[in-house]
């Protein structure tokens, strides 16, 4: 069988296996697996509010997935998307709550841009350390996650909190908000906002930079082979830093989606949001392609939101979906076995 078909079949088989094992776990623990999955499905599609909220969940996942995927494609492993996401969120809300009186055409792009710059700057340090000192980016970005969490918490508490002992900033001005009244009317007052459009445009930009531009060609080339690229006259250090900056910018914009769209404020966080870590999974399942990441984000975002419905209709704990998602990643990681399995099945059929 040809490789394109196989690269599509492998994730599908992995997803089915994930659901299968999840179902077996449900049955072993004494739940009705069919009812469980049915209520999961209903939790995503049964009414317009659920669908709107699912898309709200999906939006930042697309962007954080793109951020991780961009780094992957250029030979870097950016675990720091979570931190860049938090910084982007804070930066977007900071701009969104200041500069009153700007028109929407200026204010909204400015706030999103601030988030992109915030995320990019947070990724700059790991990029520089990697480029010039060969410090492994995984360790640095993990540490930067914790620094981001606590620095932004301090910043929100001290500089942005509305006062009176609250832990949240004020709401962003309407001119910087992504929400649109029409959306919430259509979807029974869900928090659906324009962010999904921003995310899809970002996916297009991602595709264009990597596949169609000279910059992207160089970035991918450096990712494949440092030495060959250097020999060909490319500036390896510059490309590593650029890759981290772009990856961080995607992560920052993901934060803007939460800050300007879903929540419209920034709050002191007790822990990580998990958006950046789920991004690793979506990038991986989407095989680091723009379309793949978008589809994987739809799957995971839908699952995460739909799982909230499971305890009400079928008594199955929400966490089952976390288990299913982890299993899917596990099976995709061990795609070697699935590939061998597929080969065996299809060569037998050919005979």
């Amino acid at each position: 069988m040809n490789s394109t078909l196989k690269s599509i079949l492998v994730p599908i088989v992995a997803i089915l296996l994930g659901f299968l094992v999840g179902g077996i776990i449900m049955i072993l623990c004494g739940y009705d697996a069919i009812l469980g999955y049915q209520s999961l499905f209903n939790g995503i599609f049964s009414n317009s509010y659920f669908m709107g909220e699912s898309i709200v969940k999906i939006t930042p996942l697309i962007l954080s997935g793109l951020a991780v995927a961009f780094a992957f494609r250029t030979g870097l492993f950016n675990i720091g998307v979570e931190g860049q996401f938090i910084v982007g969120w804070t930066a977007a809300v900071y701009v969104g709550t200041h500069f009153e009186g700007l028109s929407k055409v200026v204010h909204l792009p400015l706030a999103i841009l601030a988030a992109a710059v915030g995320g990019a700057l947070w990724a700059l340090l790991p990029g520089i350390l990697k480029a010039y000192l060969r410090v492994h980016e995984v360790v640095v970005t993990i540490m930067m996650n914790y620094i981001a969490l606590h620095v932004t918490n301090w910043f929100i508490q001290e500089k942005m909190a509305a006062g009176g002992g609250t832990n949240t900033s004020e709401r962003v001005f309407q001119t910087a908000s992504l929400s649109w009244k029409q959306f919430s009317d259509w979807t029974a007052f869900s928090r659906l906002h324009w962010g999904i459009l921003v995310a899809l445009i970002a996916a297009l930009i991602y595709w264009f930079i990597l596949e169609k531009s000279k910059v992207g060609y160089e970035l991918r080339s450096v990712g494949f082979n440092h030495h060959a690229s250097q020999y060909a006259g490319m500036n390896v250090s510059k490309n590593i830093i650029l890759a981290m900056l772009i990856s961080g910018a995607f992560a920052g914009v993901a934060g803007a989606m939460e800050g300007l769209g879903t929540f419209q404020y920034a709050a002191v966080k007790g822990g990580f949001t998990g958006v950046g870590f789920t991004g690793i999974a979506t990038a991986f399942i989407g095989a680091n392609t723009a379309l793949g990441v978008v589809l994987a984000s739809f799957l995971f975002g839908g699952l995460q939101f739909g799982s909230l419905n499971m305890p009400y209709n079928s008594q199955v704990p929400t966490e089952l979906v976390a288990v299913v998602i982890a299993l899917i990643i596990y099976f995709i990681a061990s795609n070697y076995s699935i590939r061998t399995l597929l080969d065996k099945i299809f060569t037998k059929g050919a005979k």
């Binding site: 776990i25 623990c29 004494g30 492993f77 995984v138 870590f277 690793i280 999974a281 991986f284 704990p317 966490e319 089952l320 979906v321 976390a322 288990v323 998602i325 982890a326 299993l327 990643i329 596990y330 995709i332 990681a333 061990s334 795609n335 070697y336 076995s337």
Partner: protein, 222 residues
Amino acid sequence: MSFYELLLTIVPIMLVYSAPLIVTALGGVFSEKSGVVNIGLEGIMIIGALASIVFNLEFSETFGNMTHWYALIVGVVIGGIFALLLAVAAVSFRADQTVTGVALNMLALGGAVFFVRVLYNKGQTDVIKHYFSTKNSIPFLSDIPFIGKLFFHEIPWTSVIAILLAFVSWYIIYKTAFGLRLRAVGEHPMAADTMGINVTRMRYIAVFISGMFGGLGGAKQH
């Protein structure tokens, strides 16, 4: 408060909190040396902690005051078994080690809460009845002036075991034939294979040991 008094308050607490970290990091050393990056240690700790807590709660009547020791062993075994998931994927199926590790972490986090809900129908378990108290002074050593009171007075057994395990691990990795093979497999698997060492088996063992340490680390955290 003098500096020594300050140390007296900090060091014993430090010993208590460092025990799980020491043990889990030792687990990381074993698998790292064999050439498998074990990002999944966090998840293994969670599973080890879950197993030992559940055991502790369920069997506290049967084993009485020895329950927490048995719970520790249960955590070790379950941690080792859970780590085999990593070995199967990363060694046999040639999966990406980092991604598999991340998947294990997510699996453990979700799975642990899931099983607690299944078993107890709520988000967290009851408080265990049998635990390691901090009232153990090591004879002789705690009589040493100055450092005796600092390091050996009223510390939990778990910390003592953790520090002893560090020495044991060093001995196993650097002074035994097994340790030499372990390092050979990690540094140059092909050369090790040529010399007749079963690379896959060594890596399975290393990941299993790593899981046992991780499970112990998790079990200690309670």
